[in-house]
Amino acid sequence: MKVHKPNLPKTIGVWTRPDSPRIINSRNIFEYMNGAGELYLAYRFNHLEVYEYKADDAKSILVELYYMETSDDAFGLLSLDWGGEHVSFSDSPANTSNQSLTSSARALYGAGLLRIWSNNLYCRVMAFRETPASKQAVLSLGKTIAANRKSPPGPELLKILPLDIGMGWKLRNDRIGYFRSHLVLNSLYYLSHQNILNLDLSTEAIAAPYDSIDGKDRKRVQFLFVRYEDSGQAQQALDNFHKAYLPEHEKDFALGSVTKSQSFFKIEDGWLGYKVYGPCIALVFECPDENSARMIIEQIQFNLLKTGG
């Protein structure tokens, strides 16, 4: 597959870049960014190209181009924070499939940092000091980066998320996260320091909170959905999760039995529910009552059938 590489200008405003980028791969990423490197390796990372635009009388602008294996992986990196000012580089409307779920953003700007999802590329363009001139330069670089690149839709998995569930629950589409690693899951919704859902680069998952909209007490539930390579892996993962997270229910637990039906448990922070759908597991946490948990799980099942999942 021929991938269009951004052709960054040698100079922009008062800033000038070196002739060639610093190339970072999975072997030397920790030298470049210490523990932050884990974030990119938690997705399907190919390599990173880094340019620093320098100026005599202004602080630098850093351009980081993260080449990911798929567009979904680049989307996942952007999905970790939907905050910031939406930026559009396209004169024509972007492909909007799935976008009602995820703020329709492909580029977000805030306080000097521009983050872009452009096909398999995730970019960070950051001015070390935000000024009107640096903002203009950052946005101009962003436009160059995104130019002539495809804009595929977000991950298919997002389609299983209903915008509303029943009369009471509304999707927080500014908090949807797409990931493949328990490290990223924990930064979105802490479950366990161990990998109790057996996540890895062969899996894909979404975390999505739903807010109660019935007005009185504001309540949030957390929904997780994971797709494994096959149903055997899903069952194994659920067994692992159950043993780690619900050890007091071990007596009722026999290998494989948890996948036969949906299960609901009252624990310290509310009702937890899960259900296996072939290679997928749906889990919901912090529900105020069993009915809410059941309703959410059933709605997901309905959406799965609707989307042919």
Binding site: N34, G35, A36, L39, G84, R129, S187, Y190, L191
Partner: protein
């Protein structure tokens, strides 16, 4: 029946049983060295000056030096900074300065101010070493001054005091994930233990989310220095500032995720100090607005 290894989960935090899980199940008793410590009050000095940086975030060195003097005087209770430094560092010491060199680094001006203060009490320049990075460097030092910059960390919750010595382990990747709870054990390694005379956190321009990679939306001019001799107490105060800033930004609780289990473990498992706010005495000096404590 052998004891099962307990996993740390969200439920431990909800139930408030994380400390017990860490102490007994995750590590076993062999790691609990020092956990029977007494619990004296730990003093942490927080000194702020809104003029320490200008609008371009350039540091005013003279203001910073004054803040450093105030920090050390507050901490030691001595009359002046020279006397104060002399209670911490002896003239025979070889002093290692352990700053954060990369991604939200410690301000060079702070490192330089500490060097000048040490030279003022008679430590020759050649016995002041930059000691970040390897065990070899720390082995040459008889005293360490830890100079981390205040930041949240996406893998460990907070990545400031305890994490600042990770390279001394010789195997930083061994302290990721759940093993981040073990960051405290690095402070008890033979070539590190007992050498830290001062923890001085650069809280001039901290980062309260997405660290260690900088995201300017989550950085703000706190314009402070945070000093102490109890690393866990200093980290706990740092944690409070980060958490309060996050709450202020979102207008609702925005807990660090994952939770910083290394802080409680440093207290309960490794006995490095206290993580209980009620056992920490904060001496504040200077600018009060948005103190977050």
């Amino acid at each position: 029946m052998p004891n099962k290894r307990r996993l740390i989960t969200r439920r431990d935090f909800i139930r408030g049983t994380m400390g017990a899980t860490l102490g007994t199940s995750m590590f076993g008793v062999r790691w609990a060295v020092g956990s029977e410590k007494a619990a004296p009050s730990s003093l942490v000095a927080v000194v702020r000056d809104k003029d320490v940086m200008n609008a371009d975030l350039d540091v005013d060195f003279k203001v910073l030096q004054k803040m450093l003097d105030q920090s050390i005087v507050q901490l030691t209770g001595r009359k002046n900074s020279k006397e104060a430094w002399s209670t911490i560092i002896t003239p025979e010491d070889t002093v290692g300065l352990v700053s954060t060199g990369h991604l939200n680094p410690t301000h060079d001006e702070l490192v330089y101010a500490v060097k000048i203060a040490l030279m003022d009490i008679g430590i020759p320049k050649k016995r002041i070493k930059m000691a970040q990075g390897s065990s070899r460097k720390v082995k040459r030092c008889t005293a360490l001054i830890s100079l981390p910059a205040l930041k949240a960390h996406w893998l460990t919750g907070i990545g400031t005091v305890l994490k600042n010595y990770i390279m001394y382990s010789g195997s930083p990747s061994a302290y990721h994930d759940q093993n981040s709870a073990k960051l405290g054990e690095i402070w008890n390694l033979p070539h590190v233990k007992g050498k830290t005379k001062l923890i001085l956190v650069d809280a001039l321009y901290p980062l309260c989310d997405k660290g260690p990679q900088a995201d300017p939306r989550y950085k703000w001019p706190y314009s402070g220095l945070i000093a102490g001799t109890d690393p866990v107490a200093v980290e706990t105060v740092c944690l409070r500032i980060i958490e309060e800033k996050r709450r202020a930004l979102r207008g609702e609780p925005w807990p660090l995720s994952p939770p910083p289990i290394c802080v409680e473990a440093a207290d309960r498992v490794y006995g490095l100090g206290t993580s209980r706010m009620e056992e920490i005495r904060i001496a504040h000096f200077g600018w009060k607005q948005d103190l977050l404590l």
